[in-house]
């Protein structure tokens, strides 16, 4: 029985990478539609890191990031989180609103809604890839957004992973529209008992 990330073998990690690939591909398409411009995507990288290194992962523990969290319900339950560096989040909001601004400022209500919507669309397209690969019914909740220190935002997925092991798995994805580059990290956080269901549905284990 697969209890946590440490129990995954190379094949299973390859499968997760493939989900990441397809999911991020879907997300890039959705992003392109939203921004009405071409969006390229690099091959996503599956990363498995130890807790003690978590703080330093996204720049530093104190660098400011935007985290968008959605709950996942249906046949697969858990959470999905999408994390963006603050400057990348601001850039996406500017692109979406069709304007340019160089200064980092507090987000307005409208900009926060825009950012939640971006997270919603990206996480939603990621989940729909997962859903069609597994034939599992997967429904995301409305998103919630927090902007704070990377370490503090990351504590949310890390704690969930902490219940089953000592590592965090995430998928780093790079989007670009030719000039600007945006790096986003997807954390798929299945509830503890869901690893087996997920891997079975993918045909990786019996």
């Amino acid at each position: 029985m697969v209890k946590g990330i440490e129990d995954l073998n190379n094949l299973q990690i390859d499968v997760l990478r493939e989900i990441g690939n397809i999911g991020a591909g879907n997300a890039a398409t959705a992003l392109a539609k939203m921004l009405k411009k071409k969006v390229h995507m690099d091959v996503p990288r599956v990363k498995i890191i130890e807790f003690r290194d978590v703080s330093e992962t996204l720049g530093s523990a104190e660098s400011i990031v935007a985290g968008i969290l959605l709950k996942v319900e249906g046949n697969l339950t858990g959470n999905i989180m999408f994390i963006l560096q603050l400057k990348d989040a601001a850039m996406l909001v500017d692109m979406l609103m069709g304007r340019q601004s160089d200064d980092l400022h507090e987000f307005s209500e409208l900009e926060i809604s825009a950012l939640k919507e971006i997270g919603n669309i990206l996480a939603g397209s990621y989940l729909s890839a997962l859903s069609s690969l597994t034939n599992l019914r997967i429904m995301p909740s409305v998103p919630d957004l927090a902007i704070d220190m990377a370490g503090a935002i990351l504590s949310v997925p890390a704690i969930e992973f902490g219940k089953v092991g000592d590592t965090v798995l995430y998928i780093e994805t790079e989007f670009s529209d030719g000039d600007e580059k945006v790096v986003g990290d997807f954390f798929l956080i299945p509830d503890v008992e869901m690893y087996d269901i997920l891997l079975k549905a993918l045909g990786v284990i019996d």
């Binding site: 969290l69 704070d148 504590s155 949310v156 219940k163």
Partner: protein, 161 residues
């Protein structure tokens, strides 16, 4: 040159004077700062979960409030601290996201704080100050000189407890 010691997530460190022990970006995790003012010995744990008894994978003692507190006190006493003098300060235990329903993932910060207090009480260590809860992250620095704990936030100021 000050001796700055960094504590990661699910990690703990202790030291004799002089030192500053720090942990960055506490969210729902709790920072447990212990200090013996007589011997000037400081210890800090960054715990993720309330109790080692609620999970099967509990080999990492620094991850849980109960086992981390026990281990940190042991480490400090080996450095010369007297358990009878040790006092505690707590920081962190925030709820970073605010979904309407109070599901387990949302309330973990509060549970971490309550559990830390319970185990400290069992160990007869008084909690003399805390800055816990809220919906924001915290970076903390414990000074071995006087046991002061500096709490830094983004947008919620800096305080000393």
């Amino acid at each position: 040159m000050e001796n700055i010691i960094k504590v990661g997530m699910a990690d703990l460190k202790s030291s004799r004077h002089p030192c500053i022990i720090t942990t960055l970006g506490l969210g729902s995790c709790v920072g447990i700062a212990l200090y013996d003012p007589e011997m000037k010995i400081a210890g800090l744990a960054h715990v993720m979960l309330p109790s080692s008894l609620q999970t099967k994978n509990n080999s990492n003692l620094a991850k849980f409030a109960d086992t981390a507190i026990k281990m940190l006190i042991g480490d400090m006493c080996r450095l010369g601290a007297n358990k009878a003098y040790i006092v505690a300060k707590l920081a962190g235990g925030a709820q970073m996201f605010s979904f309407n329903d109070a599901s387990e993932i949302m309330r973990i910060g509060l549970r971490n704080v309550l559990s830390a207090k319970e185990f400290l009480e069992q160990m007869k260590i008084p909690v003399i100050a805390e800055d816990t809860g809220g919906n924001y992250g915290r970076t903390i620095e414990l000074s071995s000189n006087d046991g002061k704990l500096i709490v830094k936030t983004i947008g919620h100021g800096v305080k000393e407890i």
